[in-house]
Amino acid sequence: MMRVTKFTYFKEIRFMFRKTKVFLFVTLLALVVAACGGAPTAVGEEKATEVVTSSGVSTEAPSEEPMSVSGDLVIYTGRSEPLIQPVIDAFKAQYPNVNVLLKAGSNSELANALIEEKSNPQADVFITTELFTIQSLAQEEVFEPYVPKGADQIPPEFLGADNMWTGLTRRVRVIMYNRDLVSEDELPASLFDLTDPKWRGQIAAAGSTNGSMQAQIAAMRQLIGEEATQEWLYSLIANEVTFFGGHTDVRKAVGAGEFKLGLVNHYYFYLQQAEGSNVGIIFPDQGEGQIGLITNATSAAIVKGGKNLPAAQAFLDFLISVEGQKLFAEQNYEYPLLPGVPLREGVQPLDGFRLADVDVVKASLDFDATFDLMERVGLP
């Protein structure tokens, strides 16, 4: 093990030196440009116009030969790192010459960075855990259109307008519970049961910085209206729901018996179950007149002006390939969007559930109002 680290360490040093050289060169270049009368920002503008002229839907498949795709591939991911890592490892096994550089953060933190970087793009690929952020960014013209190989098999509602983004996997908002603490007959059947005082202080959920939670609130605003959503959030806070930064904390807390119920994406239940906890899952709001399951999809897009388009395209192709989709299904219990890829054993198929119908474009246009709402009610 020592030898491996030492080796990577030296590789890193060499890499750093290379980077330093490049940096010095770029600095010099910029100084020359500045000295010749062009402000440094002109460099960025030039690049931007270049991209505009060469843009347009490129359906042309990237190079067939994986070895010929090389260089750094910068991925901004709103999916937490442990959940995307296996997929990246598999991609790297296929494209050994690509050096993946990952920046993980919350969807909107990275979205902010992408907007900030429009004139000076840093990322090649953006991955999020829901569709509203990626659709908002598409409207901000952050992305480069691309139709990945196999996109024609993905259900059209999971493809962005003008091929700006591609859906990857579906996930469902569910309630997980600790079987040691909650008996079958007292289970909540609806998201709105979570405001029942009998659960006071017994519920964990993710807070306002979490992409999936933001998306759920955006969906609810569309389904039941601003007023009712606000009322629901106030009631959750009044019911002393504990809001964590992410869902891993939620599932672990419910698994450990710290809380009886947790509001999570479905796969957190399966991950916790796999760790040996005695937990159960509720697919809420299935009754007549209820809103149905709130679903969303992870998605990916290519950043306009990114430095490594071939690698970015190869990566998107990989994400919706049978192998990539299988990894999401197997490693993370998600619902693949590519038809024919089997669910992981034990995962409840979605057929037969009432699913809430949410208009992605409308929700993304209203996303600011969702942030306003969360801020107004003081969601932690």
């Binding site: 890193e12 890499f15 940096f23 550089l101 920046k103 909107s108 933190e109 960075a113 840093q122």
Partner: protein
């Protein structure tokens, strides 16, 4: 001596470099739409303000109480084992508060923590335990990792304080308690206010611990704003207010420091007699042991156990030792080179400022020196925000390079370098430099051949301080790091944030050990170890 124009220009440029992010954030805050101000005023602002101030007051008082009592017990009493305690009480400075928080949270988390679960398995039913979450938890844990500032400064003061002052009070019939409160503590005041100031400013800047323990302050709210709506004006507004708050505290300290002067004659110094604790020996010993355990022994032991578990767990191992930019070696390397670079740059930049302030004291040089110390008052998240906006707009080729991270470290920790360089220069007699000039050396030659070699130990101390504090800097690194550039602090935060404590532990342990090294160098220098 007339002021050297080259030096004045150099120092002025340094001050400009330091001031730009500060000025820029104020401009952005003022330029924010009235809507952003209004929304904040109506909703969050007052809550955030009271939350933040409450925590500052609680932790500062907690740190004063703990720091002074620990210093008194180890310097002025016959406490058993005080030599080793003296050292152990200072070491928590090497433990970033968020790492301490992670450990205490894992141990004490209500119902889910190790201790509550253990108690439940012993007693067969849940036993209520104190929660590390929320205001009291945050105040407690931050106190545990902040008191060493006060402890070190008051410990030094206790050591150098004249015995005769206290003896005089006793002769005039004061009880030991009255002497402590009426003579000793007031004489310690300069050290105490300096310590309290460091604590208060650190709390304002604190992000990791409060976010972890779910207590919202300005710093964490700015972070939340940055990961919320696509609009940075609200974050700028909050940053502007936060910096204003910090400047008020900094100014308050200057005022307090300025009012009182204590003069001691060096010649008649002798150590104060030790207080015998008698029947208080055991309780006092247990108290100190408790503080040392909670702030040093327990976190260290837990991290060690987790690290060993991680090394025994093949899954954790593969996560830890990936190849390329995601390998453990690369985090270590990134941490070390970026903080070392920051230390070298900060010390180099502090030189003209310190030279000007010490060798050519004037209103101008004092102003420059003060300006270079505002870094104390600008929390990491604010520096990061202003650098993101500034660099991307004006120096786009620098954007998203590790160098921006280094610049943030330099800006944030410059004050330590300036103070260290100034104190080193103060101890060097100008006559040496004058002699060198008389012998025909130019001022630059004098600087390189005479001044620098002589003040090198002082510069090294300043550099160590910058290294130590940059190594644990979290919010600036999180916001500014380019993709693929992770440091130990970031890895600890990401892994622990996902609840993967085993994976986080080796990085956390290494971070603590890497901080302990320069810290022991500094402590030895200050003669805490004898």
């Amino acid at each position: 001596m007339s002021i050297s124009p080259r030096l004045a220009v150099a120092a002025g440029l340094v001050a400009l470099f330091v001031a730009i992010p500060l000025v820029y954030i104020f401009i952005r805050a003022m330029g924010a739409e009235p809507e952003a101000w209004q929304r904040l005023l109506q909703t969050r602002l007052w809550k955030l303000l009271s939350n933040t101030l409450l925590l500052v007051v609680a932790v500062t008082s907690g740190a004063l109480l703990t720091g002074v009592s620990m210093a008194w017990l180890t310097e002025r009493t016959d406490l058993p084992g005080k030599k080793i305690f003296r050292w152990m009480l200072a070491m928590p400075l090497a433990v970033p508060a968020y790492i301490g928080g992670i450990v205490h949270l894992a141990l004490l988390r209500p119902r889910g923590g190790v201790i509550p679960q253990f108690l439940e398995s012993v007693f067969g039913q849940p036993v209520p335990t104190p929660s590390p979450l929320g205001f009291w938890g945050a105040a407690f844990i931050l106190t545990l990792f902040m008191y060493p500032y006060v402890y070190l400064l008051s410990g030094a003061a206790f050591r150098t304080l004249h015995a005769s002052l206290e003896e005089a009070a006793r002769v005039f019939g004061r009880t030991p308690m009255q002497t402590l409160f009426h003579v000793t503590l007031p004489a310690l005041r300069p050290g105490l206010t300096a310590g309290a100031l460091l604590v208060a400013l650190d709390i304002l800047a604190e992000y990791g611990t409060v976010a972890l323990l779910r207590y919202e302050t300005f710093s964490s709210a700015i972070f939340v704003q940055l990961s919320g709506r696509y609009d940075r004006s609200a974050a700028s507004v909050l940053s502007g207010i936060l910096v204003a708050l910090a400047i008020v505290i900094l100014w308050g300290e200057l005022r307090l420091q300025g009012q009182a002067r204590f003069t001691q004659m060096e010649s008649a110094w002798r150590p104060a007699p030790l207080v015998t604790l008698d029947r208080w020996r055991v309780p006092a010993f247990l108290l100190v042991l408790g503080v040392v355990s909670a702030s040093l022994l327990v976190p260290f032991t837990v991290l060690l156990i987790w690290s060993i578990e991680a090394f025994l767990d093949p899954q954790a191992m593969t996560v830890l030792f990936r190849t390329g930019s995601q390998g453990f070696g690369s985090y270590v390397w990134n941490s070390l080179w970026s903080t070392s670079a920051a230390a070298v740059i900060a010390v180099a930049l502090s030189l003209p400022v310190a030279l000007l302030a010490v060798r050519y004291p004037s209103r101008f040089s004092r102003f420059i020196s003060r300006l270079c110390q505002v870094g104390y008052a600008i929390p990491g998240v604010v520096i990061a925000l202003s650098l993101v906006l500034l660099v991307n707009r004006f120096l786009p080729f620098l954007y998203a390079t590790p160098f921006v991270v280094v610049i943030a470290y330099v800006l944030r920790h410059m004050p330590q370098a300036v103070r260290a360089s100034e104190s080193a220069l103060n101890q060097l007699s100008p006559s040496l430099e004058e002699a060198s000039r008389t012998l025909g050396r130019t001022s630059l030659q004098t600087l390189i051949q005479v001044t620098l070699p002589l003040i090198l130990p002082g510069l090294l101390a300043g550099g160590s301080l910058v290294f130590l504090t940059s190594l644990k800097e979290l919010p600036a690194t999180l916001l500014l790091r380019p993709a693929g550039f992770d440091t130990l602090a970031v890895r600890v935060w990401v892994w622990a944030g996902e609840g993967f404590y085993l994976q986080a532990a080796p990085a956390a342990l290494l971070l603590v050990l890497a901080s302990a090294l320069p810290l022991s160098f500094l402590l030895r220098r200050e003669q805490i170890f004898k």
